[in-house]
Symmetry: C2
Subunit: 368 residues, 2 copies
Amino acid sequence: MFAARLDRLTRYMEEKEFSAVAVNAGPTLTYLTGLHFHLMERPVAIVFTPGDDPIIILPELEQAKLARLPYGAKVYAYKESPAEWSGVFRAALAKLDLAGRKIGVEPGQLRLLEYEYLRSAIGDAFFTDGSAVFAALRAIKDTEEIANMRKAVKIAEAALEATLPMIKIGVAEKEIAGELFMQLIRQGSDTSLPFAPIVSGGPNGANPHAQPSLRQLAAGDLLVIDWGASCDGYMSDLTRTFAVGEIDAEERTIHAIVQQANAAGRAAGKPGGSCAAVDNATRRVIEEAGYGQYFTHRTGHGIGMECHEEPYMRGDNEQLLEMGMTYTVEPGIYLAGRNGVRIEDDVLVTADGAESLSTMTREIRIVG
Amino acid sequence: MFAARLDRLTRYMEEKEFSAVAVNAGPTLTYLTGLHFHLMERPVAIVFTPGDDPIIILPELEQAKLARLPYGAKVYAYKESPAEWSGVFRAALAKLDLAGRKIGVEPGQLRLLEYEYLRSAIGDAFFTDGSAVFAALRAIKDTEEIANMRKAVKIAEAALEATLPMIKIGVAEKEIAGELFMQLIRQGSDTSLPFAPIVSGGPNGANPHAQPSLRQLAAGDLLVIDWGASCDGYMSDLTRTFAVGEIDAEERTIHAIVQQANAAGRAAGKPGGSCAAVDNATRRVIEEAGYGQYFTHRTGHGIGMECHEEPYMRGDNEQLLEMGMTYTVEPGIYLAGRNGVRIEDDVLVTADGAESLSTMTREIRIVG
């Protein structure tokens, strides 16, 4: 599996004429090595060059992790004192002769910390945005990755089902979020969740990024729950909207519109279709129903080792979908000061269409 | 509180001759604004200049958060399409006339993503390492910060006490870690823990950064538990080592040595004392007992909004301690293939010494 990933990396590097790529601690490093490092005050970097073992620079304290590396590498470990780190980076990278060459890096992940160590060790190299390479590598999920994502979805669905019985009028958003969090762990999520659950009732639901508050659920609220689990480093990210007791006619209407938009978005994905087409599909339903101005965000985002990654489902993104890509479809309607609805699924592009990994009912359910 | 923080920032900027400082999403931004942003694909940046309102560049979607900003700011919000983001950064920063000036940034936090937007918007500015300024600001904790850290310690201690009854011979490290995790949340930790608990028994305890495994506790194990909680964004980070049933004489000995080293380290902190002195105090005890080569890491790290932050307790760090600083004291002995001991407390520098925020007994306790 890792051999295949490195082969694809090498191919992309040749296409882009990168003499090397340099990656710091984060999901791409984990994708390429199977190893986990935290972003800490001590820099960790790995440099891949075509046809040679990669070079790894890391703290001595973390060296034991390399026993699990699935291929050979040249290892340069440094001790506790930062004064020595520059020298170790130089010793590691001097022989590569990369001065004046193109080196792909990941601007959304690489910190100035690692960048400056790399730059001062390599000399006058041309560090360039390699995001497209890493995104292309990671966007197409392999069998094991898809299996983990399916599990992450199942865990999330089971956790929400286990939480529903305690959702009642008078219970605070924060209490529900806490219980859901514990249920996620109990159902088998990794302890590093993709994000803390969003539980927002009534007017709080009109803010797509609301944090759970002490507000207690009231009869007639719409209740937005946006939550996810993580399984062996792969994420799920779902949203369902509930009715707290009896809701009014407009609330029923906007829920039905979003449900239809979600279905249209899920149906719009296929190999060779575009990200824009997915966005257009959900947006058209909401616009035609007269609520276009209240759908204030893109339709979705890629999902995998990161909860938000490429490809992004935006109307201006003509990128084409390929089999094995995974992304969210999450249209919403937000009526400021009143309420909000969002329905979100995680979708996998198949040979001839798209499959939702999440199957929990999207019909409105009454809680409380 | 925020006014005082901004005043101190301005003073440090003048000292260092920074015309501005630029901060992206992360703890320093939260420290200076009270706002939380996640590091995502959408850049968030705030630029402070002495004597003027700061400039904030962020996604429209996040703009609602600014209602809580405790002072005025010039806000530049961008829409979903990345094609427009450069223009928004330029519009935000053009008038500052920072070309050729010194701008402090945070290399351990700032990504190339934000850096490139800032650089292309500002032109030929001299971006320079401002870590020392941010570290100095954040190292001295104010009353509210210390109160949060005390709570984070209490939550962690209560969670471990609640977990102890299930620790028995035959239970796997992972089960204990899962239970401890849930107890941390139940006792009131923020859901974003400082780190996933380390639970390592027998030979696994010899790896200071071990991940909980499926290994089951056996009679005679030393059991290292390294865990922490988070309270309103402030961290605790503690370690205790337990005996699983009867342990042998050497295990008793190394536990006693580490306990003594921990006490010496806690006693060594005071205003005007150095970080090196704290490290020397623990290390001397372990060296004099003949185990110096098995204490393979520094004595501790600053702790606050980040689990690892300045100041670092290393033998080569002559930085002086000041009242209000908080850091860990965590000596250990690691006997590869056999066992490990670590005892860690969180310490606050007071007017005339240092106080341990953690008070849970450091005597060896028998579990199982």
